[in-house]
């Protein structure tokens, strides 16, 4: 990829997703066309059950759409083979899960180093880079601690370090601030913007935390599986 040219991080066309609930088929997403731009911090907002998690899972290559295409930085990800898709995620996407999902038996630095090690990097080198990332997040002094020795906020920063350590072009987070107080929530957002957003890199965040709505470059609102708002601010009726 020649840097600077590509403006679109994610592009979806006609994405639908059905779930089977007993005999019934429920359509959760109704043909979504969407472009997420590189260099932006994008929010996906909506009420519970509106399909946010489903949408973001499809956009980052861990849930197959029933119909439609998804391109991430120009790659039609669901046209890839299983192994290619796994590798694509490893090289290009960073994940921050709501429950952090750190590995309990290894220390903070090793947790943060997981993507690098999975990419095949030498363990010592991977650990060094992980510690550097922890430093950026101001918790390098916790590098040798196990997850259960850390506070919730510290664990989340380790999770963020893990999502960013391999400098992925796309970072996805589902409800990253739900468990944090307002101040910590805003700090996490600042961090994500600082380390995750660049000219050819972008961050997409699922949230319904109205305390941080002002920090987005762009806000998309999802209602019953359809995009109903697309702008730099929240619509007035929310």
């Amino acid at each position: 990829m020649s840097g600077g040219e590509i403006k679109t991080a994610i592009s979806t066309r006609g994405v639908t997703r059905d779930f089977q609930a007993g005999q019934e088929t429920i359509r959760v997403l109704h043909g979504i066309d969407l472009d997420v731009r590189a260099g932006e911090l994008t929010y996906l907002v909506g009420e519970s059950g509106s399909g946010k998690t489903t949408m973001i899972s499809i956009m980052c290559g861990i849930l197959w759409p029933t119909d439609g295409d998804v391109e991430v930085f120009g790659t039609d990800i669901y046209a890839l083979s299983d192994n290619e898709l796994v590798n694509f995620r490893l090289q290009n996407i960073g994940f921050i899960f709501q429950q952090y999902n750190l590995i309990p038996s290894i220390d903070a630095a090793s947790n943060a180093a997981v993507p690098l090690i999975a990419q095949g990097m030498d363990r010592l080198e991977a650990r060094k880079r992980a510690v550097a990332m922890l430093e950026k997040l101001n918790i390098a002094d916790q590098a040798d601690k196990l997850p259960n020795q850390l506070s919730g906020g510290q664990q989340q920063r380790v999770a963020i370090a893990r999502a960013l350590v391999h400098e992925p072009r796309l970072v996805v987070c589902d409800e990253p601030t739900a468990a944090l107080d307002a101040k910590s929530g805003r700090r996490v957002m600042d961090l994500l913007r600082e380390v995750g957003v660049a000219e050819d890199r972008s961050v997409i965040i699922v949230t319904h935390d109205n305390r941080i709505f002002d920090l987005a470059d762009r806000i998309l609102v999802l209602e019953d599986g359809r995009i109903t708002h697309d702008g730099t601010d929240m619509p007035d009726d929310h």
């Binding site: 998690t53 973001i56 899972s57 980052c60 861990i62 849930l63 192994n83 796994v86 590798n87 694509f88 995620r89 490893l90 090289q91 996407i93 994940f95 899960f97 709501q98 429950q99 999902n101 750190l102 590995i103 309990p104 038996s105 290894i106 997981v114 993507p115 999975a118 196990l146 893990r162 589902d174």
Partner: protein, 371 residues
């Protein structure tokens, strides 16, 4: 990951160690016990070939031959020496008045071939004194329970006088029966008289003649049954295997050990996977392949398996050495095949349960982590 979860780590360790201990220990006892069927042969290491009546099967299941058999055997080329050997059962009345079944072994008067190789107390030449018998060490514990010295004690053997003048260092028989060694001529007096009483002829092969070759020659020329030492030892073992419930009993315990291992290890494994399914999902989402996850779990399970296996084998060693002083366990050892068998069992347990548990991880959709 596995090693970070103390409870499950110890659960796995316990399951494997317990299973290994049960399998190793039971197989060890089994092998040693059935080898007791050959103790009569092992106790006379100098004999290359055993000659007996056609219907005799083991050192203890025997039928006497006419005394002329000895000369016939001596006439076969390649026989360096041949001596009479008598094995029979008798009842002994102890000084307390108890009746006890004993084995009588009559050894060649001149050469004393047939006695245990080593003596614990006394000298083999004590047999020169009148009415002398040498008792085996298991016999001492069985017959003299209060720990007094048996030397000089008198016994009544089928109404004949016998005086214990030595203790022989011998491998106990399968039943740990008391064995009294005495001169052949003396033994004839202890065993009530039928015409034929010689049960075996022990043979040494001349230099350059193989025992196999010699047994062939002896049976061809005398019509008697001749077995090499190894063959006859095997006959004794086979007899125990064929005529007791021991293989079945031990087999059941070993299978139970395996099943308990599978149950404990399998349960712990699936608990571990269940507790960590989100973490596995996260790894899969990040881009760690199933193969890498399986490899990771396999390495850790292998490590736990090795430690557990080591503990189990160590436990068996401890058990065997702790009981080495008990005469019934005398000479027990761990045959090298036994740890191999339990190793294979351990690998099988881990592979089986690990595979089942990992299938759950393989099937986990990475999308599950966002839910």
């Amino acid at each position: 990951m596995l090693t970070g979860d103390k409870q499950k780590f110890y659960g796995l360790l316990f399951g494997i160690a317990f299973s290994t201990l049960l399998i190793t220990q039971q197989l060890t006892i089994f092998v040693n016990l059935i080898e007791r069927g050959a103790s009569g042969v092992y106790n006379v290491p100098t004999a290359d070939v055993w000659v007996m009546d056609e219907v005799s099967r083991t050192t203890d299941v025997n039928f006497p031959m006419p005394a002329t058999a000895l000369d016939k055997v001596r006439g076969v080329a390649g026989v360096e020496w041949a001596v009479p050997h008598l094995r029979a059962n008798a009842s002994v009345r102890t000084q307390e008045g108890d009746l006890e079944g004993v084995g009588i072994v009559g050894v060649d008067d001149a050469t004393l071939i047939g006695l245990p190789k080593n003596m614990i107390e006394g000298d083999i030449n004590v047999l020169a004194q009148p009415d002398s018998v040498i008792i085996d060490d298991v016999g001492v514990t069985n017959l003299f329970e209060n720990g007094q010295s048996p030397i000089g004690e008198r016994l009544e053997l089928n109404d004949q006088r016998a005086v214990i003048r030595g203790i022989g260092d011998s491998i106990p028989s399968f039943t740990s029966q008391v064995v009294l060694y005495t001169k052949y001529s003396q033994a004839l007096r202890y065993v009530p008289g039928t015409r034929n009483r010689m049960t075996f002829v022990l043979v040494g092969a001349s230099d350059g003649v193989s025992p196999d070759e010699l047994t062939k020659r002896i049976s061809e020329q005398t019509g008697l049954r001749a077995r090499t030492r190894d063959e006859f030892a095997q006959d004794g073992v086979d007899f125990i295997i064929e005529n007791t419930g021991i293989p079945v009993n031990f087999g059941i315990t070993v299978v139970l050990g395996f099943i308990v291992g599978v149950a404990i290890v399998g349960l712990t494994f699936s608990l571990f996977i269940r507790d960590n399914i989100k973490q596995f999902g996260a790894l899969k989402a990040i881009g760690v392949t199933n193969r890498k996850i399986a490899g990771m779990v396999a390495v850790q399970a292998g490590m736990v398996g090795m430690i557990g296996y080591g503990l189990g084998v160590l436990g068996t060693v401890g058990f065997i050495s702790a009981f080495s002083g008990v005469p019934q366990f005398k000479g027990f050892y761990i045959p090298w095949q036994v740890p191999l068998v339990s190793f294979a069992a351990m690998v099988l347990i881990i592979a089986l349960t690990g595979w089942v548990a990992l299938r759950g991880v393989m099937k986990t959709e990475p999308a599950a982590v966002f839910r």
